[in-house]
């Protein structure tokens, strides 16, 4: 039966309640949390958080992000959301309709061309989204590897590739030490490794300021840490991990090619797995994986590494857009118009 839920804007006073809902809902992730909202606001995004209420009880959530720009009109994004009971099709449909109405009419979203959602639902998309189109961009990976950390070490190790087990022992024999830190002063070392790795692998690297904002938002709320591997006094590899509810996520990492032979990366993730368990997480998301063995894929190399750590493959349906065709038509017409004279 379709439940009638009221859409209301959420204030900071409901953050704890909203976060609890996010943490308890498997079909969403940390990008719907209040801490992430804080981060994105620092990045210049407009963020509006809506709740779906049954009387006074919060039943659903949509944290929406929009980047204002004088140059054009973007898309409102609900990353890893909205938080809905997707198996209740009728209610989910009603909630999405309310969301579309408010996105279209709220002046804070400018002349947005549409709404993009990205719930963690397995493919293919439900028929509820029949009139939504596949987005050109997915903010989160559509294929990933998930390690169940809530099991004994022996089982975790057994699930690893023999090479990974060997490299784990090798790093320990070489005397690689991993420390956990939230000190912004360590970010410089981490970022140098991340940048070197991005260059080496052909990834686009977020700039330093992005990480400053990320740590400023997530560290005080105890949602992020850097794990740094040191060898002979030098930081040679690092990862940045987030903890939200039951899931830890390996968000960013890097290592120097010079010290590859001491194999720090396996030890880093082994430490992260233990840290996740200690934090009460049930799973460790390796955040991105190429599952078919496509040699040209951007993730080919890193996927080979990740697959050695064990874990099971998880696929998501990917982001979907609901476009406002009238506004899209308006923008196309403007695009075709004569350019305005310069000042």
């Amino acid at each position: 039966m379709t439940a009638e839920l009221d859409l209301r804007e959420l204030g900071p006073d409901r953050d704890a309640e909203a976060d609890a809902l996010v943490f308890a809902t498997p079909e969403t992730g940390f990008m719907q949390s209040s801490a992430w909202s804080d981060f994105k606001r620092r990045e210049g995004f407009v963020n509006v958080r809506f709740g779906f209420f049954e009387a006074a009880t919060l039943r659903g959530l949509a944290s929406l992000f929009y980047y204002p720009s004088g140059s054009g009109d973007g898309v409102v994004v609900c990353p890893e959301g909205p938080v809905l009971h997707w198996d209740d099709t009728g209610t989910a449909r009603a909630c999405l309709r309310q969301l579309l109405d408010v996105v279209r009419s709220d002046p804070r979203f400018g002349r947005t061309l549409g709404l993009r959602i990205e719930p963690h639902l397995p493919p293919p998309a439900p028929s509820l989204l029949r009139n939504w189109t596949r987005s050109p961009v997915d903010l989160t990976p559509i294929h990933t590897l998930m390690i169940d950390v809530d099991q004994p070490d022996e089982l975790l190790v057994a699930a690893m590739h023999p090479k990974a087990r060997y490299n784990l022992r090798l790093a320990q024999r070489h005397g690689v030490e991993v420390s956990r830190t939230t000190d912004p002063a360590d970010l410089r070392a981490f970022y140098g490794l991340f940048e070197e790795t991005a260059q080496r692998n052909g990834f686009f690297a977020e700039p330093y300021g992005f990480f400053l904002n990320l740590l400023a938002a997530l560290v005080p709320t105890r949602h992020a840490e850097m794990l740094l591997a040191r060898w002979q006094g030098e930081v040679i590899a690092g990862i940045l991990v987030t903890w939200f509810g039951r899931r830890a996520t390996y968000l960013y990492g890097g290592s120097t090619a010079r010290c590859r032979h001491v194999m720090p990366n396996h030890l880093l993730h082994w430490t992260a797995i233990h840290a996740a368990r200690e934090r009460g997480c049930a799973e460790y998301d390796l955040y991105g994986y190429e599952p078919f063995g496509l040699p040209d894929h951007l993730y080919a190399g890193i996927s080979r590494f990740k697959s050695q750590l064990g874990g099971h493959r998880v696929d998501w349906m990917g982001a979907r857009d609901h476009l406002f065709y009238d506004r899209l038509a308006d923008r196309i017409v403007e695009q075709m118009a004569e350019p305005a004279a310069a000042g």
Binding site: R42, S69, R130, T140, Q335
Partner: protein
């Protein structure tokens, strides 16, 4: 806005706002002395040495360092500092207090936590106004860089007063800098630009920095030359400041052509984000040429590079096929009065076409190219606005164009390629070569170049591959050359420059196209030779495919243009700051970079000359039923490999090598083992690619079948509702509603689309599987 203070062991600090370096205590005095003291000194010249009662307004500068300079200048009696960020001011009162010498506690100073725009709405006159504002990163931050802003400042400036304005880098962002200059002048002010070298700025890649000295009375270069500053400086050399006011003719030309930034025409931020772009108006590009239009899509966020925007555009173009074209066409036709005539006509044709056909996107080029072009541009811009879209982690990352395949023609005229067109790397046009000239960036040319690392035009560094071959380059194996054993000295050459994933320029200027880890082609003097890494001599002279040579030459020329542009810019910068190289390591690095770029330019010239151009020829026609392994190399039905060699076709089964035809062997000789190994390595690589393609296609097929089942269930339900309640009965279709009959019709269309996708998937899987089967079948034979 995020603030970050980096503390060093020596007690020094660096302040970052939104990740941008604002100051480093090691050299901040260069900046603040150069910004503040010229304006105050020139005022003193105008009013006399005993000038007093000087009133100063500082906009921004919450760190207190510009204030420090103002306060130590004789005659200053009143200072208002207006900064809207209380956190920066708090830093000025705490961590930075030792550096600003406690400026905030000076009795002459009043601090205002306020918006400078609003503050200047009603304030008294000032004799000097210092604009120490951060470089804008968001549209709302450009308001204090507009003509209206400088007009406002002019109105609160005393008649002989002066403005000291923090600018940008005239080298890194020349268009933005000269736009600022012209904007100040458009406010009716005289404006003198001058540059300084701030080592920490240079180290962060910001380039030389520039300021503007402005006022209602005329200001000339000689004013800077005749400055007599009454206070000593810690770091800035004001006596030589005038040299920084010299700009080349080319730069001066920009000063007259740059637009004016106004509240109504906010062009400054796009210019800051898109250095080098002469036109930021996409519609000014060759209209409907999608590649050219995409090259004109501006960078819209400081996080982004041109490479990111182009990658985003590719993703968008691939995704627009999912758009409801009918709905869009209808929406556009409702705006008929505003449409250009050609687009209106195209839309009518497209509407009529769609009445009887499903929107097959491959036909968009014929029926709706204008619409497609406009759609891709609009959607690219919409997705390029948010900073995080360029870093999206979802399923992208398909490889680049290959230089080793895709140049042949099939008998049917369709482009050759393995596995459904894997090679050829087509963009929206049909060229490997991208539309826009790349920009040299990164640090590769300052450090790693020539020191054991290869680099590309974007500044990425790579561990170089080593290629070893004989200086004599006689052909191995006696087929097509003459000598049966290697002679000449052994030469070892490393990759110097990575022009593309598989297009390399070696340190000796040779051009290499890699085929696999162990096989490559060498383009030299209009010849194309096949090599194995295990042999010194070429294995076989290949037919020099004219299109390949042309493309290689174009690609290298394009990157050479970028190198020359950067070299010219560097030389210009060094023409006035080069004398400081003894003082500043960063400037020494600039000289190194220029030398490295010039060296690369010479090598690229040498590479193009070295590669040469073949004498006229036509494209190789792929044999029927064959699959291209590399340029001129084909796997034929039956398992023989046919190679279009320089002196005609040769065939091999891995054991023998012959001419004639695949079936009728002539002049049979043993196949050199290295040649068999090369073919095997290419086939092994393709085998992996095809196997992965099949897994991916199978995954797609599974999802399509699941979707089909869901569609059929929906159709059955809609038909039941239509039958029970009538065709007008309102039903849900996704999140919209429509009549039952419309829902039936839409779902039938969806099922038809799904069926087409299943068929296309089946065909592609079959072809890929057939290709893989061929390779699996014949590959073992090549190893025996």
């Amino acid at each position: 806005m995020s603030l970050h203070v980096e503390r060093r062991r020596d007690g020094g600090l660096a302040l970052y706002i939104d990740g941008d370096l604002q100051l480093d205590t090691a050299d901040e005095a260069v900046y603040h002395e150069s910004l503040v003291l010229p304006a105050l000194s020139l005022l003193r010249v105008r009013r006399g040495e005993s000038a007093t009662g000087i009133r100063v307004l500082i906009c921004g500068g919450g760190d207190g360092l510009a204030l420090r300079e103002v306060l130590r200048f004789p005659g200053v009696t009143h200072v208002d500092l207006v900064d809207y960020d209380p956190d920066v001011v708090a830093l000025g009162c705490t961590d930075l207090a030792p550096f600003n010498l406690g400026a905030f506690s000076d009795a002459r100073v009043t601090i205002h936590i306020a918006d400078a725009w609003q503050f200047t709405e009603s304030c008294d006159l000032y004799d000097v106004i210092v604009c120490d504002l951060t470089v804008p990163r968001r549209p709302e931050e450009t308001r204090v860089f507009t003509r209206e802003w400088y007009t406002r400042l002019s109105s609160v400036l005393s008649p002989d007063g002066l403005l000291a304005i923090n600018g940008f880098s005239p080298r890194k962002t020349p268009e933005a800098f000269w736009c600022l200059h012209r904007t100040v002048r458009a406010a009716g002010l005289s404006a003198l630009p001058y540059r300084v070298c701030i080592p920490s700025f240079r180290a962060h890649g910001y380039g030389a920095w520039a300021f503007l000295l402005a006022g209602r009375q005329s200001i000339r270069q000689t004013d800077l030359r005749n400055l007599r500053c009454p206070v000593t400086t810690a770091q800035a050399d004001l006596g030589r400041l005038w040299r920084g006011a010299r700009f080349s003719r080319g730069e001066r030309r920009l000063a007259t052509t740059a637009p004016v930034n106004t509240l109504g025409y906010s062009i400054l931020l796009p210019m800051l984000l898109n250095p080098g772009a002469r036109s930021l108006d996409a519609s000014a590009a060759t209209i409907y040429d999608v590649d050219a239009l995409l090259g004109a899509v501006p960078i819209l966020h400081p996080y982004h590079t041109r490479e990111m925007v182009e990658a985003l555009a590719e993703q968008v173009a691939g995704a627009v096929r999912a758009i409801d074209v009918r709905k869009l066409v209808q929406a556009l036709l409702r705006r008929a009065a505003d449409l250009p005539r050609e687009l209106f006509a195209e839309l009518l044709r497209l509407r009529d076409y769609l009445r009887d056909h499903s929107p097959d996107f491959s036909h968009m080029q014929s029926w709706g190219y204008r619409l497609f072009a406009a759609l891709v541009i609009v959607m690219t811009v919409a997705n390029a606005i948010a900073p995080d879209n360029a870093f999206g982690k979802g399923g992208s990352g398909i490889g680049h164009a290959s230089f080793s395949r895709g140049f042949s023609a099939s008998p049917s005229g369709v482009r050759g390629g393995f596995g459904g067109g894997r090679g050829g790397g087509e963009s929206f046009g049909s060229s490997h070569v991208s539309g826009s000239t790349p920009h040299v960036s990164g640090s590769a040319f300052r450090s790693g170049y020539g020191h054991g690392y290869a680099s590309d035009i974007y500044g990425y560094q790579y561990r170089p591959r080593v290629f070893i071959f004989s200086s004599s380059r006689h052909y191995y194996g006696g087929r097509g050359g003459g000598h049966s054993s290697s002679s000449g000295t052994r030469e070892e050459h490393k990759t110097l420059f990575v022009a593309d994933d598989d297009l390399l320029v070696l340190d000796n200027g040779d051009v290499v196209i890699t085929l696999s880890d162990t096989a490559y082609m060498l383009a030299n003097e209009g010849r194309l030779d096949l090599y194995s890494v295990n042999s010194l001599d070429p294995l076989l002279p290949l037919y020099p495919e004219p299109a390949l040579f042309q493309t290689v030459s174009q690609e290298i020329h394009q990157q050479q243009t970028a190198v020359r542009n950067e070299t010219a810019a560097r030389r210009d910068w060094l023409s006035w700051v080069g004398w400081t190289s003894a003082l500043f390591p960063a400037v020494k690095d600039d000289w190194t970079e220029v030398r490295n770029l010039e060296d690369l330019d010479r090598r690229l010239t040498s590479a193009v000359v070295s590669a040469g151009q073949p004498s006229k020829g036509t494209a190789t026609v792929a044999p029927p039923g064959s699959t291209e392994l590399f340029v001129g190399g084909f796997l034929l039905p039956g398992g023989t490999v046919g190679i279009h060699a320089a002196n005609g076709w040769q065939f091999t089964d891995g054991k023998s090598l012959w001419t004639g035809s695949a079936e009728q062997r002539q002049g049979v000789a043993p196949c050199p083992p290295e040649l068999a190994q090369v073919i095997r390595s290419v086939m092994l690589k393709l085998q992996k690619e095809l196997a992965a393609d099949i897994r991916s296609l199978a995954n797609d097929a599974s999802q399509l079948q699941t979707d089909r089942a869901s569609l059929q269930r929906d159709l059955a339900e809609y038909q039941r509702l239509e039958s029970s309640y009538g065709s007008g009965y309102e039903v849900d279709y996704g999140t919209s509603t429509m009549s039952a009959s419309s829902a039936v019709s839409r779902t039938q269309t969806d099922i038809a689309d799904n069926q087409r996708e299943i068929e296309a998937n089946t065909i592609e899987r079959a072809k890929t599987a057939a290709d893989l089967e061929k390779i699996n079948l014949y590959l073992p034979g090549l190893t025996k």
